[in-house]
């Protein structure tokens, strides 16, 4: 079946294995497109897409905008800080006003969990979740898996993936866990116990609190930023202590018996979760992730647009 099984991209938990394979396959074609002299294809020239970002973003926003423009779609951007949301307009009103301008797809990042799901039930457009609170960030997980497959030059069945850091507040971690398990990978998390969700083992994920042991085990380490802005209480005594126990530096990496792949969704707090010599090393695929992000988002938008009837 060469079509997605879902009508919106709200979370990895709604996708099946075939959907993932279709997205990766399509993304590989778009990766070729964005490396040509002229990087555009005309497929979506009659589609209008609205990017609704109620939370700050650099990478995701630019990446989506670039992906949409490369598909020749018309793009409108909305950021909450400069809009009538400050005057008290509700979410549904905001979106319906935008939809009255005949927008086909809405890409939304919102701080409330389930905002995309809520929206999909009340408005008449395709919704792509660009991050909803601490819940899911499906396109990040898709581009992470795509980049891992590229770096390891194989699919992820049986591969050992470690997620390090603030798992509790991370929508990237949750989406990654769902995506990796769908592909048959083994997932472990590592971080301060205060930042590991209590029932994470019910997702089939093991916990390892010793960073060195965790890095010895894994093939790929996906390193997360400490999400200070989501922390209502202090989860660890100081950033320095966090770095001493869970920060990855070149010495630790060089002492492992194999070369592992280092990933980070960005933005990096240099010197905290990763030192600069690791972030900029040849084991790091952080910038490849960004390039692949555009291709993966093009694939997702293209496959969803395919379902929009004339």
């Amino acid at each position: 079946m060469k079509q997605l099984s879902v009508e919106h991209l709200l979370g990895i938990k709604y996708l099946n294995k075939n959907d993932l394979e279709l997205i990766f396959e399509t993304a590989a074609h778009f990766k070729e497109v964005i490396n040509r002299p002229i990087k555009k294809v005309p497929s979506l020239r009659d589609i209008t897409i609205a990017n609704l970002f109620f939370e700050n973003s650099t990478r995701t926003k630019l990446s989506f905008e670039l992906a949409e423009k490369r598909l020749s779609a018309d793009v409108i951007n909305f950021s909450a800080g400069q809009s009538s949301v400050k005057k008290g307009e509700t979410l549904i009103d905001t979106v319906n006003n935008i939809l009255s301008m005949k927008v086909d797809i809405v890409v939304m990042r919102h701080s409330n969990v389930g905002a995309g799901i809520f929206l999909s039930k009340h408005v008449d457009a395709k919704i792509i979740n660009a991050g909803d609170g601490t819940h899911e960030h499906p396109t990040q997980a898709l581009l992470d898996s795509f980049s891992m497959r590229e770096a390891l030059n194989s699919d992820l069945k049986g591969k050992k993936i470690l997620i390090v850091g603030d798992v509790l507040h991370s929508r990237v971690a949750l989406s990654n866990i769902f995506a990796l398990q769908l592909q048959g990978a083994k997932v472990k998390v590592c971080g301060p116990t205060t930042l590991i969700p209590r029932y994470i083992s019910s997702l089939g994920v093991e916990v390892e609190t010793n960073l060195k042991k965790a890095l010895e085990w894994c093939d790929v380490a996906n390193v997360l930023r400490v999400q200070h802005e989501r922390m209502d209480i202090k989860y660890f005594p100081s950033t320095r202590e966090y770095t001493q126990l869970f920060g990855i530096n070149k010495e630790i990496l060089d002492n492992l018996d194999k070369k592992i792949v280092i990933m980070h969704p960005g933005p990096i707090n240099r010197g905290v979760e990763l030192t600069s010599d690791v972030a900029d090393s040849n084991q790091s695929i952080i910038l490849n992730q960004v390039e692949n992000g555009v291709a993966v988002r093009m694939a997702v938008i293209y496959l969803l647009a395919q379902q929009i009837k004339r």
Binding site: K2, Q3, E32, P37, V41, S43, Q306, R310
Partner: protein, 184 residues
């Protein structure tokens, strides 16, 4: 109406040789020419011609690429079945080169129109020619005609030209078949 053979494998072989000779007549040693096979089915024809040109006619350094036109098609969101992309492999620039687009069957001409738009992403060629194995004569939707044709065929809309290659069907034959009925 049942299946009719349009071309046997011997006839195809002769036609391939003739097309190769016609290409050499216009392009000499191919130093300034590139061949582009249209995905998915023009690739078999392009590979065969390239093999002939290299092995039997001693053309050195022949440049061959494959172009996928899925994202340039004009029927996106207008069909019941979703579109399936294949891969593009063009590892050279076509700037100022002579391009020969190769496809197996020329029907409405829409694939070639898509290919012309797609090629613009790779540079500005000196000129573009079209080579097809089968030209369905009166069924064009656009003003597009081939420069090199294998065989011209008159087929009605309810018929389909099926090209079988050794690589896919274990035989080189071209058939004319009735299209499966849409009522079932």
């Amino acid at each position: 109406m049942s299946r009719k053979t349009l071309l046997t494998s011997k006839e195809i072989e002769i036609i391939l040789h003739r097309l190769a000779c016609q290409l050499i007549e216009n392009h000499n040693d191919f130093s300034n020419t590139v061949l582009i096979g249209l995905q998915p089915r023009g690739t078999y024809l392009a590979n065969r011609l390239a093999k002939l040109l290299r092995d039997e006619y001693n053309i050195k350094d022949l440049q061959l690429g494959f172009l996928d036109i899925t994202f340039y098609r004009d029927d996106f969101r207008r069909r019941q079945e979703p579109l399936e992309a294949t891969s593009t492999q063009i590892d050279f620039l076509i700037e100022d080169k002579k391009v020969v687009i190769i496809d197996d069957v020329l029907y409405s001409g829409r694939s070639v129109r898509s290919a012309l738009t797609a090629l613009q992403s790779y540079g500005r060629p000196d000129n573009i020619e079209l080579l097809v194995l089968i030209d369905r004569r009166f069924s064009r939707h656009l003003p597009i005609q081939p420069n090199y044709r294998g065989r011209q065929v008159d087929a009605i809309n309810e018929e389909k030209v099926v090209v079988c290659w050794q690589e896919t069907h274990k035989e080189d034959t071209i058939y004319l078949e009735p299209k499966p009925s849409k009522l079932d």
